[in-house]
Point group: C2
């Protein structure tokens, strides 16, 4: 297994592409890679409401290649995919609710574009390492807990169906066409630069926003629901490991598995860390209720044992750093799509 | 549970649409519905190689509405979907191998078009009964046998991934939007009017063709692989039941479950029924091997117990009728796409 210095060295001087690189996870990954001495190309569509912000890369803007284009555009993909050693494929639509009201867009981005990215890559850059950002949403309502990678796939919303297809295309192109692919099934990634304008990335964004603005946190449901969370630095390290370690080739990994916590306890933790605040319960809206998955937490023992991934930031610390980040920022810029 | 006369009566005077209605199963279904006194509309794209033949409905051509259009065309769907009581949604690309060489087409037909059909139907005809032709291919390599409907979904090819998404969209629109949907996961349906020009529907088509032409049957692999088969009349009856019985609403059913037979025994049965012939083994080609699923046979006890479906045609009888059909036909017309 690769230790942190080996991971760092493996990226030095390498050409790395990040789709969705202006978003929350992509921009944090880009910053780390720049520190490692990689040549980073970001491809991002800057679609509204998806989390892309130029401000996310303002500090590394001069040393990266930034290409604003949509991965639905196969002609630019033909050009853009060439020559990269590693492709972190994070471009996606993440909102479950948006996927229900605008299913075509979700299908195009999360399903059709993934297929065309793979087909194009097979043609112009078949030996690239590809790491795909998948999601725990594809499991649907857990049949058992914690959920490991062998848990049946049974998504409950359009987003989950399309992300399933997107992940499966990746693994298929690995198995059938010999491409080097890994999928990471992410769980509630949070931290600085997460979207807080709405719940499109995780509901926790809204909570951080509320507590920083001195507003009340709204807990949907009874507050007993269990979830696990991954701090951004730990999620980024999982991507870096998956892109560097040949053992990840052809593998699917859960990234999560922090100690599960109920939403009520989480709300109280957030308020305590913020030094004050209140929360209140509200029922699920009908459109959320029907796609809710109940309790979820991941078994991440596979990535721990195979790649040596260990999350290093406890929830309290990660939340404290997140709250501190948004307290130090001009908040209004985080409530708009672009800057 | 509905007996056959109740099923027949339930379709009398009803408006029924069949997508893919010029194909093997669709045309047999249309003929039965015409006999029941339904007003049948067939929508078919007549895409080459997918099994559509005008000759399949020549005997009922005057009493059906035939609309040549592609379900990828959302504008015609807006018009066509209105007013039907039951929609049998059979339009699909069935070839596993084609899906690997032309994945975009498979995605458009089996995945994207299904979503637009459902979205459009939700808008213009939300109370229609919809019965979707799914496939056992979505299970992938069986983890246990016989395969029931709770078996994990893990397709091994692009066709399986896209058919999974198509089925899941249907069930989701039932669960979330209250539409009346049923999915039938079909297994090796065979019989008169099956495609015998190639193996795009089932390999058995090629075998029937060989034996009728006096050529050698090619058995891929060792001949020990197990499969089950459904005679066309029994498959049609499953569709009719699913469209008529409210208990089918929101349900997924395996259609199959005949006694499993090895490919070697099947080849010998076909030859015996044909009154002569030979067979030989050949290895899988590399592109077939990688998407092969090994043994498969279905547990169809759910549709038996819930809808009272009982296959009535034993394999020997079905094969004999199939061979007799093609012996009575001008064979060359079955080796071309259109007529």
């Amino acid at each position: 297994m690769l230790d942190r210095s080996e991971v760092r060295e493996s990226y030095a001087g390498r050409k790395v592409m990040i789709t969705g690189g202006l978003g929350f996870i992509g921009s944090n990954l880009a910053r780390e890679l720049v520190g490692f001495g990689s040549h980073v190309t970001i491809v991002d569509s800057m679609l509204p409401n998806y989390g892309a912000r130029l401000g996310n890369v303002s500090d590394i803007r001069d040393v990266i290649d930034l290409n604003i284009s949509d991965i639905r555009d196969t002609h630019s993909l033909q050009h853009l995919l060439r020559g990269h050693d590693v492709i972190f494929n994070l471009a996606g639509q993440t909102s479950h609710l948006d996927s229900m009201t605008n299913p075509y867009t979700d299908l195009e981005i999360n399903c059709a574009s993934q297929l065309s990215l793979l087909e194009t890559c097979r043609e112009v850059n078949p030996h690239a390492r590809i790491v795909f950002a998948s999601t725990r949403q594809i499991y649907g309502r857990p049949r058992y807990l914690p959920v490991d990678e062998d848990h049946p796939i049974q998504p409950v919303d359009v987003n989950g169906i399309n992300k399933t297809a997107g992940e499966w295309y990746h693994m298929l192109y690995g198995r059938v066409h010999g491409m080097n692919v890994t999928a990471l099934r992410l769980t509630n990634t949070y931290g600085p630069r997460m979207r807080i304008a709405d719940a499109r990335q995780t509901f926790l964004g809204l909570w951080v926003r509320a507590v920083v603005k001195g507003e009340e946190i709204t807990v949907l449901g009874s507050g007993t629901q269990l979830r696990d969370f991954t701090f951004i630095d730990d999620a980024v390290h999982a991507f870096l490991l998956a892109g560097a370690d040949p053992r990840a080739d052809g593998r699917v990994y859960n990234v999560g598995g922090g100690p599960p916590i109920s939403l009520r306890d989480l709300a109280e933790m957030v308020i305590e860390l913020a030094g004050g605040g209140t929360y209140a319960f509200a029922p699920f809206s009908a459109d959320l209720k029907v796609i809710d998955i109940g309790d979820y937490y991941a078994d991440a023992s596979r990535i721990r044992s195979e790649l040596g991934w260990e999350p290093t930031t406890p929830l309290e610390e990660g939340l404290a750093r997140t709250i501190a980040f948004y307290r130090s920022e001009e908040l209004s810029q985080w409530l708009e799509d672009h800057d």
